[in-house]
Each structure stands twice: as C-alpha cells, then as structure tokens.
Assembly symmetry: C2
Homo-oligomer: 348 residues x 2
Amino acid sequence: MASGVAEVRNKQVIFGDYVTGYAKESDLKLTTTTTKLKLPEGSTGLLVKNLYLSCDPYMRGRMSKNGTLSYVETFKPGTPVVGLGVAKVLESGDPKFKPGDLVSGQTGWEEYSVITTEFLIKIHHIDHVPLSYHIGVLGMPGMTAYAGFYEVCCPKKGETVYISAASGAVGQLVGQFAKLTGCYVVGSAGSKEKVDLLKNKFGFDEAFNYKEEPDMDAALRRYFPDGIDIYFENVGGKMLDAVLPNMRLKGRIAVCGMISQYNQLERPEGIHNLMSLIVKQVRMEGFRVFSYYHLYGKFLETMLPYIKEGKITYVEDVLEGLENAPAALMGLFAGRNVGKQVVLVSRE
Amino acid sequence: MASGVAEVRNKQVIFGDYVTGYAKESDLKLTTTTTKLKLPEGSTGLLVKNLYLSCDPYMRGRMSKNGTLSYVETFKPGTPVVGLGVAKVLESGDPKFKPGDLVSGQTGWEEYSVITTEFLIKIHHIDHVPLSYHIGVLGMPGMTAYAGFYEVCCPKKGETVYISAASGAVGQLVGQFAKLTGCYVVGSAGSKEKVDLLKNKFGFDEAFNYKEEPDMDAALRRYFPDGIDIYFENVGGKMLDAVLPNMRLKGRIAVCGMISQYNQLERPEGIHNLMSLIVKQVRMEGFRVFSYYHLYGKFLETMLPYIKEGKITYVEDVLEGLENAPAALMGLFAGRNVGKQVVLVSRE
C-alpha cells in the first residue's frame, strides 16, 4: 500500500537500562530502524531532523533509577536517549513553527524525532554564529554560566574567582564573564592542553592542572594567598573540601554541578570542611538553569554582541556522527572533551 | 605598707592547655588567688565584679590550638577562661561607665576582672527581665536567633521550619520567632524533658527526641511530608546529611553551629548529600552574630515588649557557683543543659 509518505532510515542511540556506579558506552546501544516522515495524525508537535546533539554532565543523573541525583526525569530503558539539540523542522503541528525553521530544545538521540514544542526555542540570528552555539554558548550551558555567575555569585570588581572544570562548556564562560567584571580569575582543568586554553584563549589570570597537584589546599593557597571570594563549583568531592577553608569572609559558592560524584557507586564522597561556612560566613547556593529562563532575552542581548565583538570566545569539541555519541557522552566523565562536547548528526 | 586598697579572694577558672578531641572538665582548673580592688594606673578599662557567666558551644573552638574551628582567638593556657558575662562596675577608667553600672560583654571566668570597654553593653531596662537574660535572650544567643532567622533564613508565613538542638539557648528562640511568623515549626532535642518543653512551653507544632529515631530520614519525612523550607542548623554531622534530601525547592539552611562536630578527634564527619543543594536549589549560609550587631537596637525594641507581653519565653539552666562552671560548659556537649546554660557567680 503506497501511502505517499517517505520512509527513511533512522539511526538511534537507545538507553539500555538503569545504571549504578560508572556508566559505560555499552549502556547506550546503537540501532537502526526506519521511520515515516510524517507527523502522527492530530499531533501538535514537530517532526524534526536532528543536526547537533548536546552532551551534558547532568545526563548521567537521568541514567540512574534513583532520581535523587537527577534534576529531570530519567531516561526510559529501550527508548532513545533524550537531550538538548539543534534540529530542523520537517513538518509542524504547531502554528508557531513551519517547515525549514531551526529550533533548539529537547530532542532524541536519533536522526529524526517527533518532539513537543514546549520550551522549544526558534533560532534566529544565525548570521555570525555557528548553529551548534545554540546548544552551547547561546544555549543551556551559556545560560547556566550567565545565571550562575551574575545571579548566584553576585560578583564585584576586584574579587577573586576560582572555577573548577574551567575549560568545560560552562566554566570557560564563567571565567570570561569574571574577567569582563574585573575579577582575578583562576581555573583548574585536567590536562596541559586545557590549562593552555584557559590562559591563552580565555584570558584567565592563572590556571593549573589539578591532576598534578598532590596537595590541593597548598595549590589554592598559592593562587589565592588572600582567599577566594567566589567559587564556581562544577566538580564536588575533594576539590570542594579543599576550597572551603580557602574561602574569604562573606564568600559565595555557586553549586552548578559535581561531576566527580555522578558515577559514585555507593554515595557521594563526604565533605568534611563545612564548618568553614560558619567561620567565613560563606553562602553556598545550588541552582538550576531552568529557574532563570526569564532572563533569556537579556542574556541573548548581552551575548550576541559579545560574540560578534570577540569579547567572548567559545571552544567546542565536535564529534561527527551519531554512532560516536555514546563515546562523546562518556568522555565527559573521563575529561576527554576539550570545551563543550557536541555531536554533529547532520550538517543540514 | 598599708596601701588603703582592699585585697580580696578571687576564685578563677584557668584554661589548662589546648585540647584535641573531647574536652574534659579537667582541662579547666579551679584556683584561688587574691586581687587588689583597684584598676591599674592609667587603665581605660573597668574593674568589675562578675555576676553571671555564659556557657556557649563556640567556646570549644577557643580551646583548640588550631583556630580553624574558632570564630575568635583561642584561650591562653594558664589564664582564666574568657567569655560573655554580666558584671557590676566597681571602678571605671572610661567616662562612659561609672561604679555601680551593670554591663554585659566579654569578661573572665573569675570573681573579679579587669576588662576593656570595647563592645561592652551598658544594661538598661532591668525592671522586668532577669539580669541573666542579658547573656541569653537579650544577649548573644538572642541576637543569633534573631539575625539567623530573620536575616539569613528570610522566612515567609506558612513555610515549614526545622530546628535541631531546638531547646538550646538559640533554638528555643528561633522556634518562637518562627511561630510568630506563622510558620509550621518542628524541633528536635535529646531528652523527653526537652521535647516536652518544645511542645508545651515554646509552642512548637511538633518535636521529637532524635536519640529515639533509628532512621532520621524517616523521622523527617514523617514530620515534613512535603519537605523543609527552612532548616536552622545547630548540630551538623548525620543530622545535616539527613536534612539535605528533605529540603524543599528554594529552601534555606542557616548554619549557626555544628555542636556534634566540635569535639571530633580527627576531623568533622563527612557530609554526603550536598547534591541536594543543586537538585532543590537550596541556599546554605553560614553566619556569625558579630556581623549583625548593627541590628541590636531594632532587636531590643522587638524583644523587650515580646518578653513583657509573654510572647517570647526563655528557659535558662542556671548553675550556682563559679566552681561549677567547668561542668556547666562540658555539659553543653553532652546535652546536659536544659535551655540556656548560665553560671551564677554572685547575685550582686
């Protein structure tokens, strides 16, 4: 029965089953199916072709049955991984979108998806920025850095700022925002290449490879002899414990993530130095970017000129091919990515 | 040579030496000396007779050589313990004070002291409040509860509030402030007597004996099925770890103290559940009352009528005799005190 609807190959990355401890590439399975290029009857969503997919640390939380560590619902075993992406609209059941539109938002790890339009952003301003930026510097990581630094850290000119995982999707931006604010900025990362990026490309005042520091407390005292006003927390664990006693009076810790803890088998490492919160009167605040999207317009107004004028630069690690997506995601937890990890599914 | 200056007995509590791990009564030694009732030539301080001395948990920090846990300088081995107290001025080298004045502030654990007038408060309004209240509900613990609850917790009517060490010098006031604000208030303490006080004297909605709860998480879920908006942290350790996953979205934790950790031999217990700060977007803020003394006038204006009208009640545990001061201080860490621990040195 010829229906007149094209049927196409649809490669997918399927979530196997809930994970305890270290997630592995094999927890995600590549499969190939076919799909009809047609929205289901009565759908108010969109049929899209996925172009770029975003690999983000929070996705590890969606792989655990125990949702405590996750901010959003878990993946469903046997179905494609879901995450943020940039996609092209093929068919629309929502009058606000039309075929050919480019969108960023939640989509599936597959070539073609049917997605809802809730929280979806229509992409404009594509003249001077790469499409992938819409899941990076102009997307969730960008908003995370912006809200976390300006809204949670309340920075002042002249303050000292320390950023862990500083060359990552969020960290590299926090450092540049801090420099634009007139702060002294130090970042840590896990390789010489990343440390070089921090100093030479992102303009950090200092940077160091945390893997080469046998005594983290000594390292922090070396870079911050008078203490840390603002700590942008991306890693948790021993790093946090070393930072706490090095905070200055009335310091602020924005807790963005704790990537070192996401694959812990039993439970996260214990943090021993919280007494420093009292001694130094420190505010430690967890945040989720989703609470700050009312600032998205202001954020774009700030970022687009910054990017155009070269005041903000952004490094992406683009891996080509959906079949490489599992390795790309797992690479985050091993620190293999240099900059924002993106998977290129299709150029158009 | 008759100098015309009276020489009197001066009982003292002497700090022995720096302590590691559990402090004991024997770390403080009672001695009797004599002192001349005369200010040293040219002194700008006061010669005082001590009436009431305050026992406060933070004093344990002053007994450790490593000052990390202490907010103020350590005690000096071989000299009298110093702490807050109420005293009567016998001789003054400062024109702002005259003999007969009553003052509250830093003094020595002895019968007679020479003290500086810096940060000293002259006591007025003694008509309807006991003198000891000036080191309790109207003193540092009162200010701590006031600043910690109103300034750090930012409470709103209808919110849920949990207080650990709730019958203590600070906790009993936080609970009453929370009730006056229109919050649902639950406190924990370590004996039936204290739990009864919380419910029947201080008007907490619920209270429980933490020593009788084998599963603290289950206990908190029982009293806070929809979670905790505000946690007033006095104890640290396992209690904090149990509270964290029970916090509500945008909850606040005011870190006032961590008494369960002050006598730890090696280092404080590890806290494992800080990921909850991100998941629930919780603000956890350490504070020290000394940063809030600009509010002291407003505090007194609020508290004096509250006390007069019976809207705020205060329970003290008054132990008579300087010789009992070491036991009184150590009792704090064993939870022997019921309410604010005070030592009565002399009635006048």
